[in-house]
Amino acid sequence: MMLPADWPGGFWWHWLVFTVIIIAFVLTLVMGLIWIERRGMARMQARLGPNRVGPFGLLQPVADAIKVLLKEDITPARGDKIVHLLAPITAFFPVLMIFAVVPFQNGALLADLDVGVLYVIAISSISAIGVLMAGWGSNNKYSLLGAMRSVAAVVSYEIPLVLSVVGVVLIAGSLSMNQIVLAQNVPFILLQPLGFLIFFIGGCAEINRSPFDLFEADSELTAGFHTEYSGMKFAMFYLTEYGEALALSAIITTLFLSGWKGPLLAPWLWFVLKTITVFFIMVWTRTTLPRVRIDQLMALSWKFLFPLALINLFITAIEVLVWPEALPWTMIPVNIAIMAVLVLLWSKFFKLGWGRVAV
C-alpha cells in the first residue's frame, strides 16, 4: 500500500501522528531494555531471571505493568499530596520530550532543532525537579536524603556533561542532532575519547545508574526518593529510570557512535543496536561495581571530570582551529594518547575524597 506523499497531511496531523509513533517506539524500546537488564543481569549473576511470561520471559514487563496498575495507590498521610502526585509526572515527561530531537534515521526526528543538543541538556535536567518533589512530598527521611543526593549530583554533573558535549559540537560545527550525525565520517568516540568517557560517566551519575545509584541506594535508603510510592506512580518512576537510560544511550549513540550510520542494515536498526549496546554497558557496570559514597561522587565530578572536560575542550578547540583539515586517522591516535596520559595523571595525583568528619 502506498501512502500519499504528503501523508498524513496538515500541520497538526503530522505532529500528532509522529508524536504517537515516537512515544510507542520509545515505550517498546524501554520494555526491551527492562527485559535486557533483568535477563542480562541474571545471566551475570549466575541465575536465570524472568523466563516464564511469554517466550524467554519477553512479556515480563507487561505482566509487571499490569500488576503495578492493580496495586493500591498510597499517599503518605502527612505528605504533601499535590507535590507527591505531581512528582512522577514531572520526572517522566521530560524524558519523553528528549526523544523529539533524537534522529532515529536520517531526518527521522520530530523536530530538527538548530539547538538540539542544548535542548536535550536543558530538558534532561527537569527530571531532577521531579525527584526533589518526590523526596519532599513523601514526608520520609529516606526519600529526602535520596532527593538531596540527587539534586547535588545533578547540579555537579551537569557541568562536565555540557563541557564534554561542546567538544563534539566544535568538531561537528552544529548543534543540530541530525547535523552532528551527518558530520560523523568516523564516530566521534574515536576523535573525542575523553569526551565520551566524561559524558558516559557523567550521564550515568545524572540518571542514577550504578555505580552512582545513590539516590535510591537500596541497601542504604531502602528505595531512596521513591520509597513512599506505589502503584502507577511508582511505575512512572520506574519508566523514568529506564526512559532516562534509553535517552542517555540514544544521545551517546547520536553524539559519539555516529547515530544511525552503518553498513548493510537499515539505519534505524543500526540506531537501535548501538543504543542497546550502550545500555548493555550500563547493565554491565551495574552488576559489577559497588556504589561510591556521596562525597566521592562529588569529588569525582569536581576533581576529575570537570578539569578533564575543560582540558578536553581546550585541546579540541586548538585542534579544530589549527588543523581544521587534518585527517581523522592522524587525530585518532593523538587523541587517544592524550586521553590515556590525562587519565593516568589525574588518577595518580588526585584521590577521591574520604575521611571521617570530626563531630
Binding site: M41, M44, Q45, A46, R47, K141, Y142, L145, R149, S210, P211, D213, L214, A217, D218, S219, E220, L221, T222, R286, T287, T288, L289, P290, R291, V292, R293, I294, D295, Q296, L352, W354, G355, R356, V357, A358, V359
Partner: protein, 367 residues
Amino acid sequence: MTLKTEPFMLNIGPVHPSTHGVFRLRTTLDGEVIIDIEPIFGYLHRGVEKLAEERTYTGFIPLTDRLDYLASMSNNLGYVIAVEKLARIKVPERAEYLRVIIAELQGIASHLIAVGAFLNDCGAFFTPFLYMFREREKIVDLFEMVSGQRLLYNYMRIGGFAQDVPDEFLPALDKFVRQMPGFIDEYDRFLAENEILLARAKGVGILTREMAIDICASGPVLRASGVKWDIRKVDPYSVYDRFEFDIPIGSVDDCYDRYRVRVEEMRQSLRIIKQAMEQIPPGEIRAKVPHLVRPPVGEAYAHTEAPKGELGFYLVSDNSIAPYRCHIRAPSLMNLTALRDMMIGWKVQDAIIIFGSIDITMGEVDR
C-alpha cells in the same frame, strides 16, 4: 550568610535491607554525617537461655541451631563441647576429626555470606552475594548429605554425632576442597583490587587494637584489628592442636581488613579440612552416653572459635537432666558494642558498610 541547619533523627531499621535481621539504629544525622547513634536490639528475643533450663541437655541442641542460624553446626559444636566438659565425656577420635571438618566447612559457609552481604551493603547489586551463595550451596549440599537438613542441622550429639557420615560424603568433600581454592582466588581477584571497594572500605570504620580488646571483640573483627587471637590456637579444643594453620591478621583495623581476614580464613579452613581428611580414622562416631545426661553438680564454660568469634557456653548443673543455668556468650553481640565509636563522624553509607563488616546474625545477638 549561613543557613540555619539542625540535626535530625533517622531510624535505620528494624526493617531495612541492610540490618541483617531486625536491628534498629537510631541515628542522629547532620546532613549525611552521623553525629550520634543508638543501637537498639531485642526484636528477636526468644529467651533461649531460659528455654535451656526446661529442656534436657540433648533437647537443647536444636535450639542452639537457631542462635547463629548461618552457622548452626558451630553452635552445635560449642554447646556439645560445653556439656561434654561438664559431664566429663570422652569423644571418639573419628567424631573429633569429623567435628573439625564440619566446623571448618561451616566457617567457610558463614564467611561466604559475610563477604557477600558486606559487598551488598557496599552497593554491589547482589552479584558477589549470589556467587557466594552458589559456593555456599555446595557446603549446604554436603551438610544435607550428613544430616538431612539444609539450614538448621541438629547434627551433633553429646559425645559425638547423631550418625556417621554416608560413604559418598568424603569423596564429595574431597571434590569440594579441590575446587574451592580456585573460586576463592577468582572472587578475591575481582573484589580485592576493585577501585570503588578500596575507596569505600579502606580506612573506614577503624576499630583500634586497644578498643577491640577493651570491648571483648573476637573472631575476624578482633583479628582484623591486629590481635593474633584464635581460640583454636590459644586454647585448642577438639583436635585442633594436631593441625597446621595460620591466623591471618589485619594491620589497618578497617572494614577492608575485616574483609581480607575473612577471605584468608576461608583458605586456612580449607587447609585444616585437607589435613583432617588425611588423618581421619575409622571407628565409633559416638561415645556411650545415656539418653538423659545427668552431669555431676558443677559448672563448666567452654569456648569455641565460631565463624563470628568466640562462642561460649556456660552451663551450671545441679545433677538433673536439664541445666540449672545456661549462659551463651554471643560473639555477634560483643562485636557490636563498639558500633558507636566506629560510626560517629562517618556518613550514612559508611555506617551501613561498617555494620555489614562486623557480620552479625540477629538470632545470636538477641537470643
